[in-house]
C-alpha cells in the first residue's frame, strides 16, 4: 500500500448493517433521530426488514446455557494472573505496615479497589477492597480459596466439576448460584443472591437459599436471616449504600476501602442512624458530606482517622 488516501472500505452489506442496528439497540446506544433513520432503512426494502428480523432473532434466541470451553486446567489461570499481577504488586508496595500476607495469590485486589474478572471456566468473580483468592480447576472439581477479604461469585454451571469456595475453615459448596463470601471480619459471612449453597464445617452443614445470609462462627449455631439485596450488592457497583445503618456500622464499612483505621470516639454518636450513598472511588467527598450532615469532627493522621462529635 503506497502513501495517499487509504482505500475506502467496501460499503457494509445488508446483513452487517442489520447487525449493527441490533447491536446499537441492544446497547441502548440510540437517539430518537437514530430510530427515525432505522425506520427509514427498514421501510426502504423488504430485504432490510428480513435481515433485521434475522439479526434480532439471533440476539433474542441466544442460548444462555452456553459456556465457553475450558482452556486451561491447572493451578494458575494465565488470564487471571495477567489481569491482577500489576495490582498485586501495588498492594505489596502499600502494605508496608504489618503485612502478614506477602504470598502472591492468583487473584488480588488492593485497598480501595473493587476488581472483577472472568475465570477460565466462565465463572465471574468480584473481589472487594483488600481481597485475595486462588482458583484451581481439575478434571472433577473447581476450588476457590479465599485467602482474605470479600468476593462475590457468579458460578458458571458445570455439572462435571462442582465448585467449592474454601474460607476460614468452611467449605461452601455451590449448587448453581451467585453468592458472596466475606472473610474480612472475625466471623465468616455468606450471602446468597441466586440459587443455593451448602456451607460445611466438619459434620455440620447449613443450607442457604437465595435472599438469605448467615454469619458463621464455630462456637454458635448458624441462623440464616434475610438481607437487603441492594445494600449488599452496592460494592460491586463501586458504591457504599447506607440505609438507616448505625454510624458505627457505616464507618466500619467505609474503613474497608481506605488504608488505615477509622476510630469512633463517641459511643452515643455511633448509635445514630444514617442513610446515603458514597462512591468508593471518592470516599473523601462522601466522608465530608457525612461530616456536614452529622456534624462530625475529623482528625486525620497517616493511616488513622479519628471521628468525634463536633461541639456546638
Amino acid at each position: 500500500m503506497t502513501s495517499g488516501k487509504p482505500a475506502a472500505s467496501p460499503p457494509a452489506s445488508v446483513e452487517e448493517t442489520a447487525a449493527r442496528w441490533v447491536a446499537r439497540l441492544a446497547l441502548k446506544n440510540v437517539t430518537e433521530s437514530d430510530l427515525l433513520q432505522l425506520g427509514a432503512w427498514l421501510a426502504a426494502s423488504p430485504a432490510h426488514q428480513a435481515a433485521f428480523d434475522d439479526a434480532r432473532a439471533t440476539w433474542t434466541e441466544l442460548p444462555s446455557e452456553y459456556r465457553p470451553p475450558i482452556k486451561h486446567a491447572g493451578w494458575r489461570s494465565p488470564r487471571a494472573v495477567a489481569t491482577f499481577a500489576a495490582v498485586a504488586a501495588a498492594a505489596c508496595a502499600v502494605f508496608v505496615i504489618g503485612a502478614p500476607h506477602l504470598m502472591p495469590h492468583d487473584l488480588a485486589s488492593p485497598t480501595g479497589a473493587v476488581r472483577t474478572t472472568t475465570l477460565a471456566d466462565g465463572t465471574r468473580l468480584w473481589l472487594d477492597s483488600d481481597s485475595a483468592a486462588d482458583f484451581h480447576i481439575d478434571s472433577d472439581s473447581r476450588t476457590l480459596r479465599l485467602a482474605r477479604g470479600r468476593v462475590h461469585i457468579a458460578v458458571a454451571a458445570d455439572p462435571q466439576r462442582p465448585l467449592t469456595v474454601k474460607a476460614a475453615g468452611y467449605d461452601i459448596k455451590d449448587i448453581g448460584t451467585a453468592f458472596t463470601v466475606d472473610a474480612s471480619g472475625t466471623d465468616l459471612h455468606v450471602a446468597v443472591t441466586e440459587g443455593r449453597v451448602d456451607v460445611k464445617r466438619g459434620n455440620a452443614v447449613t443450607a442457604l437459599t437465595a435472599g438469605k445470609r448467615v454469619v458463621l462462627n464455630p462456637e454458635h449455631a448458624a441462623a440464616p436471616e434475610s438481607f437487603n439485596a441492594s445494600s449488599e450488592a452496592a460494592w460491586r457497583d463501586g458504591r457504599i449504600l447506607l440505609d438507616q445503618m448505625t454510624l458505627r456500622a457505616a464507618l466500619t464499612e467505609i474503613e474497608r476501602y481506605r488504608p488505615g483505621r477509622i476510630i469512633l470516639l463517641d459511643d452515643e454518636l455511633g448509635n445514630r442512624r444514617v442513610s446515603g450513598t458514597l462512591a468508593i472511588d471518592d470516599l473523601d467527598s462522601g466522608l465530608n458530606a457525612l461530616a456536614a450532615t452529622q456534624r462530625l469532627r475529623f482528625q486525620n493522621f497517616p493511616y488513622l482517622l479519628i471521628v468525634s462529635a463536633q461541639h456546638p
Binding site: 447487525a19 446499537r24 441492544a26 441502548k28 440510540v30 432505522l38 434480532r56 444462555s64 465530608n288
Partner: protein, 184 residues
C-alpha cells in the same frame, strides 16, 4: 467609601464551611426538607440528593442571588431542575420502550422451547461461539446476559466505547450467518 460584597463561588461551599456565610447557612438549613420534597417527586433519594446538590451549586454561583428570600430562591432553582429531570426521564422511558419493542416485539420469552429442527442450529451456534475471539464473546455475553451497559463493558475490557459496538456487531453478524446456513 462603600464596599460591595461580591458573591464568588468560594462563598458557596455549603457543605464544607460551617455557617461562615448567611446564605449558605440558610441553604443548609433547608437541605433536608428540600431533599424530602424532591424525593417524593423523583421516587429515588439518590437522584433527589444529586438534584439538590446541583441546586445548591447553581444558587451559590448565581450572579444575582435572591438574598431577601434565600429559601424561595433555592426551592425555585430546585423545582426548575426537577422539571427538566422529569422531561428527560419521560423521553428516556419512551426511547427505552421503543427500543424494547423493536428488539423483542413478537418474541415469547416465556417459552424458549427448542424444536428438534432447531437442535442442529443450536450446535452450529455453539460452534461459532467457541470460535469467536474471547473479547468478542465476552462483549456478547455480558451485554446479553449479564446486564452490563456499553460503558461498563468498555471499562472492564479496557477498550473504547465504540469498540464494544463493533465487537457486538461482529458477533451478531457471524451468528446470524451461521444460523442462515443451517436453515438452508
Amino acid at each position: 467609601m462603600a464596599t460591595t460584597v461580591s458573591r464568588s463561588p468560594s462563598d458557596a461551599k455549603f457543605l464544607d464551611e460551617h455557617g461562615s456565610s448567611d446564605l449558605s447557612g440558610e441553604f443548609r438549613r433547608n437541605e433536608r426538607s428540600l431533599v424530602r420534597y424532591i424525593t417524593m417527586h423523583t421516587g429515588c433519594r439518590a437522584t433527589a440528593e444529586d438534584l439538590v446538590q446541583d441546586a445548591f451549586i447553581r444558587a451559590g454561583t448565581a450572579s444575582t442571588p435572591d438574598v431577601r428570600n434565600p429559601r424561595a430562591f433555592l426551592f425555585r432553582i430546585a423545582l426548575n431542575l426537577l422539571t427538566n429531570y422529569k422531561v428527560q426521564r419521560r423521553r428516556r422511558r419512551a426511547l427505552t420502550d421503543q427500543i424494547r419493542t423493536l428488539l423483542w416485539d413478537g418474541v415469547d420469552e416465556a417459552t424458549p422451547e427448542r424444536h428438534v429442527s432447531a437442535r442442529q442450529e443450536l450446535s452450529q451456534v455453539y460452534r461459532v461461539m467457541d470460535d469467536l475471539p474471547e473479547r468478542t464473546r465476552n462483549v456478547l455475553f455480558w451485554s446479553r446476559f449479564e446486564g452490563l451497559n456499553q460503558a461498563q463493558i468498555a471499562a472492564r475490557l479496557g477498550i473504547s466505547y465504540q469498540a464494544v459496538e463493533k465487537h457486538l456487531q461482529k458477533a451478531i453478524t457471524r451468528l446470524t450467518e451461521a444460523r442462515q446456513q443451517e436453515k438452508s
